[in-house]
Symmetry: C3
């Protein structure tokens, strides 16, 4: 019986060689590629949430508040368009424009059962590139092309994943 | 044969006790935690889409249109920066900054097979907090710290989930 | 043994008839509905990323740069609020407001095991509508109501999916 049981579970625990299809364990902690996605996506989510706190920090530092009810100090008026605050907000918006589509794209890319080495390294490079993007844009402005390179890295990786997924599912158009 | 068949399905239908691993039923309607995520994420998606309609409502009410082709009334010019419209747009942007990363974070948090009681209550509290955030920000402005508390609730919950996932997948860095 | 093996895999490869529940193959390439989602979501991700490049194109065309370090030409100053650039940015923001919640909503809609014909056609119509939205908003402005119709199409589809999911999971409130 125990022999039988192990035979039964084998097809679930490892993808059938050569099938190239995702299987029932794709989105579980048994899949190292998915675990790598989990870790680096978590890092990027935390990074994005810290942008909110960085905006709040700049607002308090320069006393720039956009709502009447936020005027925490006396003799203050509603203000917009402070360059220090707006820089962080532009960086945050750029994060939303690029990282949020990347989250979905890389998640569905895993379902095509890619090579673990390729997929994990793409996740690592894309995530580190976006952390650098934030540093050179919002934390300590650095001359170009540093920001363009950091931006282009995740963009190209997302396009590559899109090409892989689209070619695999082209018949379902 | 029927006995054999039921034996085969058992390891799939219930998580192996003590394994702590996600299993093949994690992202199906057989998992109550995932069902709870489905319900409350749906509520938040609907809430976010209603922000678009609320912005449109404010635009028609105060006749503030940002595009030439939107001038639905005579003798109207393109206008920006109306405080009533901009308040709703700021609330909407805040939703995107916080709820969209939360969607991904809570979805992948489920794959770590968390305690059903903890996970479901986190989903409930976070969702209700964001509904309150919209009410006190965009619908009927209320003095602080009501908005900060509502904002911080989902932020802390997302950071908690991020910590759980990152600690579980730290070896895949 | 080979007979036994095929018997074992059958319950995984096809949903149990009449159960109406998602099963272990929902989020694999064995599910045609999921493959259709993969293809059209990939198209929309690529479309969104192209908005970033379209914004950059407009910035270089009209020489409008919001950061000191982006001044790639001599005798240039930091500028905002150019109508050509802002139009593309408004279209891009509208994409984020609508397509990103749609990605999550349609992904979790698949877990309710919907009819393949209905789900696939919803994905197709919603995606084509958003491509048209971009064309009539950011590429070549066209009189209303073309943009409102394209906008409303995906909005209604997302609300429909939300209603289906919420009704199926109402007991997990």
């Amino acid at each position: 019986m125990s022999t039988n049981s192990s035979t039964i579970l084998t097809p679930l625990a490892t993808p059938m060689p050569g099938s190239g299809m995702g299987n029932a364990t794709t989105f579980t902690l048994d899949n190292p590629t998915f675990c790598c996605y989990l870790f680096w996506s978590t890092v990027l989510v935390a990074k994005m949430l810290l942008m909110s706190l960085l905006t709040a920090l700049q607002r308090f530092r320069y006393k720039i508040f956009p709502n009447e009810e936020d005027l925490f100090f006396k003799n203050l008026e509603v203000k917009f368009d402070d360059p220090h605050v707006e820089r962080v907000r532009r960086a945050h918006r750029n994060d939303m424009e690029n990282i949020l589509p990347y989250f979905i794209m890389s998640l569905i890319y895993i379902s095509t059962n890619p090579s673990q080495a390729i997929a994990c390294n793409l996740f690592r490079v894309a995530s580190v590139a976006r952390i650098l993007h934030t540093l050179v844009y919002a934390v300590y402005p650095v001359p170009q092309p540093s920001r363009i390179l950091a931006f282009a890295t995740m963009l190209c990786i997302t396009f590559y994943m899109a090409a892989v997924v689209a070619l695999r599912t082209l018949s379902f158009i």
